[in-house]
């Protein structure tokens, strides 16, 4: 294997070979190799957050017509490092009456749940953590583990704001998991496998975002809600709940929630890029594996950029609006989408790939257009209703004014 074409795979192979040369039993070699891989990947992901925080703050600053961090180092790139040093030396304040076990377990579990997602994602042709045959299900299940940590935090803090935040958060996260899981069925149907590597390989001819844009849209919106970012950030709504579930946390325990949030946002982009944008696929990615890694990172950063754009430009939803969007728009749409995709796929089975993809695409666009029209009609109806209510209120207030003789 050539070092220049695949440096990461080369180092891994060299390392395993070197371990084998030490004279250890084969089981130990495998164990140590896997432990090292896990350590390197987890540390890399954690350190990567430092860069993510800088990137996001800089971008949000530009959106809000500011400079963002620009004092520490060139373009303020060392600002997160300074923040990290500061947060390392902050005191932990454990509130009186907090449930010690759940209170301390929550920040650890929050980071662990996100880090664990990285173990099944293929980063390039040769660098695959674990190629599980239930990969996508694993991603969804472990993604759901993060919710546990938030309710633990809210419940363990002995604080009303925290409890309220945690309940809102669980209501939001479990609701948005429904369209997330349902839209994840579509790539499984198209690829015929649950393995994440298999899904990437199945996108050789066409990316799934082309074949199923509606599924990609639902998946993207649902994962935006899963990471709890604006416009879905009412779980830690600063203006209503002060900070939500993490109100009683301080020092690095709070920092861990912060790390988990940023890493989750990036990981969700990574999952989206893997499942819908073809993962490491690109011209020449199979011959030169390092190119695949570069492609994957490019795609992920495009998705992450869109996530930050959403965060920087959209106002926060009200809780009933958020629930309506999920249960009355996304869930019916994803159910209809699965049925339509199944029928269309069954009918066009014998046709060449081009026509098949075209049929899928048309069905998706049709469903999106119908949903759009229905939402518009509903909005017009509601506007009329509100207008009637306003007029009714106007009559009421004037009559009471006359009644009291003012």
């Amino acid at each position: 294997m050539d070092f220049l074409r695949d440096p990461i795979g080369f180092v891994i192979q060299w390392y395993v070979f070197w371990l084998g040369g030490l004279g250890l039993p084969a089981v130990w070699v495998e164990l140590i190799a896997q432990l090292t891989g896990a350590l390197v990947l987890a540390t890399g992901a954690m350190l990567f957050v430092v860069f993510l925080i800088w990137y996001e703050r800089k971008l949000i600053g530009r959106i809000q017509d500011r400079f963002g961090p620009n004092r520490v180092g060139p373009w303020g790139i060392f600002q997160p490092v300074a923040d990290m040093l500061k947060i390392f030396t902050k005191e932990y304040i454990t509130p009186i009456g907090a449930d010690k076990i759940t209170y301390n377990l929550a920040p650890i579990l929050a980071v662990a749940a996100v880090l664990l997602l990285w173990s099944v994602l293929p980063l390039s042709v040769t660098v695959v953590g674990a190629d599980l045959n239930v990969g996508l299900l694993f991603l969804i299940a472990v993604g759901g583990l993060g919710e546990m940590s938030y309710i633990l935090a809210g419940w363990g803090s002995n604080n009303k704001y925290a409890l309220l935040g945690a309940f809102r958060l669980v209501a939001q996260l479990i609701s948005y998991e429904v369209p997330l899981v349902l839209s994840a069925l579509v790539p499984v149907m198209l690829a015929g496998t649950l393995s994440v590597t298999g899904i990437v390989q199945a996108q050789e001819d066409v990316w799934f975002i082309v074949a199923a844009p509606a599924a990609a849209l639902i998946f993207f919106i649902a994962s935006l809600a899963e990471i709890g970012r604006s416009p879905f950030d009412l779980i830690e709504a600063e203006s209503e709940l002060v900070a939500g579930y993490n109100i009683e946390y301080s020092g690095l325990k709070f920092g861990m929630f912060f790390v988990a949030e940023f890493l989750h946002a990036f990981t969700v982009s990574l999952i989206f890029a893997t499942v819908f944008l073809g993962g490491w696929r690109g011209p020449g990615a199979e011959q030169i594996p390092i190119l695949g890694f570069v492609y994957l990172m490019l795609k992920t950063f495009v998705v992450y950029f869109v996530t930050i754009l959403f965060r920087g430009t959209l106002p926060r939803f009200r809780i009933d609006q958020m629930m309506n969007l999920n249960w009355k728009v996304l869930t019916p749409l994803s159910l209809a989408l699965i049925m339509a995709m199944a029928v269309v796929g069954g009918l066009t089975r014998g046709l060449p790939l081009f026509w098949q993809v075209l049929a899928y695409l048309l069905v998706n666009l049709l469903l999106l257009a119908v949903t759009d029209q229905l939402m518009r009609i509903n909005q017009r109806k509601r506007a009329r209703f509100n207008l009637a209510m306003e007029m009714g209120r106007g009559i009421l207030t004037t009559s009471t004014k006359h009644g009291t003789g003012e």
Partner: protein
């Protein structure tokens, strides 16, 4: 396959240890000067009234129940989606029929007003 799950297990341990050790190190570095006022529950400067583990609106449980139905159904649908490419048309239609029954239940929930947030 077993090696893969071993890797997942090792990764889970590492992922749990990583933040735990970081928090421990920070705990050693950081000062510890607790006092009763500092440690009291935060509530906008006033003292907390009543118990902090309060009752929560019933609405949350309704949504949790609806979620449960959909989650179980999704687990049932994954094998169908996995085998989808090898299924004959009638098996696909059977899956669609299953989804239609689910949609009927969903519409019932909707009409009952369980999806309204008030």
């Amino acid at each position: 396959m077993l090696g893969n799950w071993l890797y997942i297990g090792i990764f889970a341990l590492v992922a749990l240890m990583m933040p735990a050790i970081t928090i421990l190190i920070a705990g050693i570095l950081a000062p510890q000067r607790p006092d009763p006022i500092k440690n009291s529950t935060y509530e906008c400067g006033v003292e907390t009234v009543g118990p902090n583990w309060t009752q929560i609106k019933i609405q949350y449980y309704v949504f949790a129940l609806v979620f449960l139905i959909f989650d179980v159904e999704a687990i049932l649908l994954f094998p169908w989606a996995l085998a989808y490419q090898f299924l004959p048309l009638y098996a696909i239609l059977e899956g669609v029929l299953f989804l239609l029954i689910l949609v009927a239940g969903f519409l019932y929930i909707w009409r009952k007003g369980a999806l309204e947030w008030f």
